[in-house]
């Protein structure tokens, strides 16, 4: 496949004596969307935290562009890797523009504040996602879909080759889910970014990602093309859910067998 951006080998993590991740290996390539799935508590967020260099794995190695992740300065690491956190409610009501501008942080020297040029870039990113009108809106007052888009605009300003998204579709209505997934696909297709997202809906993994990784109890159950990993058998073994994969207009979809 095309060039590897991140290689993770044998990642293990434990917290308070409990093994949260056990020997996870994965490679992430430029221009691909990778979905991470699994039940609550399977270790998805912990894996993200390890890959994002927020926490140090107990075992294993993570390389970013061929160099061990721990050898990077935080700033340099974040010029390559950006992060769209799960929905949260910030304490202070910054404007959308201020939040987006913070994406410039890893590119600024010393204690400098962003320049006029940086502001223009932030506005361009908002325009690209069609949310220019939100620039002066309070970040605490916008809808969930708009908040996700604002955070993606921030990642665009951060100008990274890789983006991690923690449950990008959570709490969004149907239209917003489709829109946000479209934006993520564009990041990969147009900007050649590697996008790694934690998702709950296996249909999202089937429809929008190039590869999927299924986790259960901190172990990798299956990894590979979504149509090969998201199968009846795997959904049963990972979630304990009886489901069939059906085809609709050439695309695959998960159908749950009802047990009423």
């Amino acid at each position: 496949m095309h060039n590897k951006i991140m290689e993770a080998e044998d990642i293990s993590f434990s917290y308070g004596g409990r093994h949260v991740l056990k020997n996870i290996s994965l490679n992430i390539h430029a221009g691909e969307v990778l979905s991470i799935l699994g039940p609550n508590g399977a270790g998805k967020t912990t894996l993200l935290n390890c890959l994002l260099n927020f926490v140090k794995p107990v075992g294993g190695r993570i390389k970013l562009k061929g160099k061990p992740a721990e050898e990077y300065k935080r700033r340099d690491f974040c010029r390559i890797v950006s992060f769209v956190p799960q929905m949260h409610r910030p304490v202070f009501d910054y404007t959308v523009e201020e939040i987006v501008l913070m994406g410039k942080n890893p590119h600024l020297e010393g204690c400098a504040a962003p320049s006029k040029k940086d502001r223009a870039e932030a506005l361009a990113a908002l325009a690209e996602l069609n949310i220019e009108h939100l620039r002066d809106a309070r970040y605490t007052k916008i809808s969930g879909g708009e908040l996700r888009l604002a955070l993606i605009a921030r990642a665009i300003v951060q100008a990274t080759e890789m983006i991690f998204l923690d449950e990008p579709a959570a709490h969004l209505d149907l239209k917003n889910q489709i829109d946000i997934m479209g934006v993520i696909r564009d990041l990969a297709a147009v900007r050649k970014m590697a996008a790694v997202m934690v998702v709950h809906d296996p249909d999202h993994a089937l429809a929008y990602s190039d590869r999927a990784l299924l986790l259960k109890d901190g172990r990798s159950v299956a990894a590979g093309a979504p149509s090969e990993t998201i199968t009846s058998e795997n959904l049963m073994s990972v979630y304990g859910v009886d489901a069939a994969i059906i085809e609709f207009e050439g695309r695959k979809k998960v159908m749950i067998r009802n047990k009423i």
Partner: protein, 333 residues
């Protein structure tokens, strides 16, 4: 933003003149302006010598000190609130002031010189803020908004009892009154010489906090998000804590413990400027200067004897704290 700063600056200048003119010995505001102008330009002296003495040796240093203390406490509070993502935090709430007060009480008791006193004050403040942060550290379980405030209260209480112990040991005729009066906060003993000596350790951390103001915004997003934006969060927090502690200690060395100023001013200023510290820090500084100047004017003109500043600021501050607590929902996210 520019308009806000301009209006506040003009208001501050006017308030300065008024503050210098009022007091037991009244000086007309026009004369105050003339006397100040005479420092810079040749001017006919049609005022008694005594007015000039009162202005330059008493009122002027006191007014400058009030502004410096109000500005310092308020901008520190604005920065700390963003850093801890908590509008309930201030140097006083975190116990910095009590710690610093304890350091000062020790220094007074041991008859230390000025430099040693400042170092004791700074050490006390630094120990207190470190303890509060350690006690109130997020443990991953729920919100630490109230936990941090409680830790500050515990640490503040601890240092207050140490101060009480010192008061018990202090000589009741010479040192005790000094310690007591000073712990309640007062600008009555500020002299020009004292002010000059302490000004670098006020101006330097103020400038540093202003220069870092944009960066501190990043911390307001929380630990992981700040890290994902390339910020070395431990280092930046350390920078913020060191400079705010330095600044607050300097104000304590100048005026004693004056609580509730930063909390009130930083939250009020945020309602005008929004949370961006690039605007909030300078506006808090100006608003804090105005606020404490007003309080000090009241302290020396409301009653026939001087009212300690700390009493007035807490009378005004406690209701504001309750308001913010209710508004921010306390422990709820």
């Amino acid at each position: 933003m520019k308009k806000t700063v301009l209006i506040l600056s003009l208001a501050l200048a006017a308030l300065c003149v008024i503050s210098i003119s009022i007091g037991r010995y009244q000086i007309p505001p026009a004369t105050v302006i003339k006397i100040i102008a005479a420092k810079f330009a040749a001017c006919e002296r049609d005022w008694p010598e005594r007015m000039e003495t009162v202005i330059w040796s008493i009122r002027f240093p006191r007014v400058i000190a009030a502004m410096a203390v109000g500005a310092g406490l308020s901008m520190s509070a604005a920065v700390l609130q963003s850093m801890f993502q908590n509008p309930l935090v201030s140097p006083f709430i975190l116990g910095v002031s009590s710690g610093a007060g304890f350091g000062a009480a020790v220094a007074i008791l041991l008859e230390m010189n000025r430099l040693a006193l400042y170092l004791m004050v700074f050490a006390g403040g630094a120990v207190a803020v470190t303890l509060s942060c350690l006690l109130g550290k997020e443990n991953g379980r729920g919100n630490s908004k109230i936990t941090l405030v409680l830790s500050g209260v515990i640490v503040g209480g601890f240092f207050s009892s140490l101060i009480s112990a010192l008061k018990y040991m202090a000589d009741p005729y010479t040192k005790l009154p000094e310690i007591v009066f000073w712990l309640m906060g007062s600008l009555a003993y500020v002299t020009g010489e004292n002010l000059l000596w302490i000004s670098p350790i006020i101006i330097f951390p103020m400038a540093a906090l202003y220069f870092y103001s944009w960066k501190f915004n990043i911390l307001a997003l929380g630990e992981y998000e700040a890290k994902s934006l390339g910020e070395d969060t431990e280092r930046l927090k350390m920078i913020g804590i060191v400079f705010t502690t330095m600044l607050v200690s300097a104000t304590v060395a100048l005026s004693g413990v004056i609580g509730w100023v930063g909390l009130v001013v930083a939250n009020s200023a945020r309602m005008v400027t929004g949370p961006n510290l690039v605007r909030l820090v300078p506006v808090s500084a100006l608003a804090g200067a105005i606020y404490l100047l007003l309080i000090d004017d009241m302290a020396r003109s409301l009653a026939s004897v001087e009212i300690p500043l700390g009493i007035l600021t807490s009378l005004a501050g406690a209701p504001v704290f309750i308001y913010i607590l209710k508004k921010s929902g306390g422990d709820k996210q």
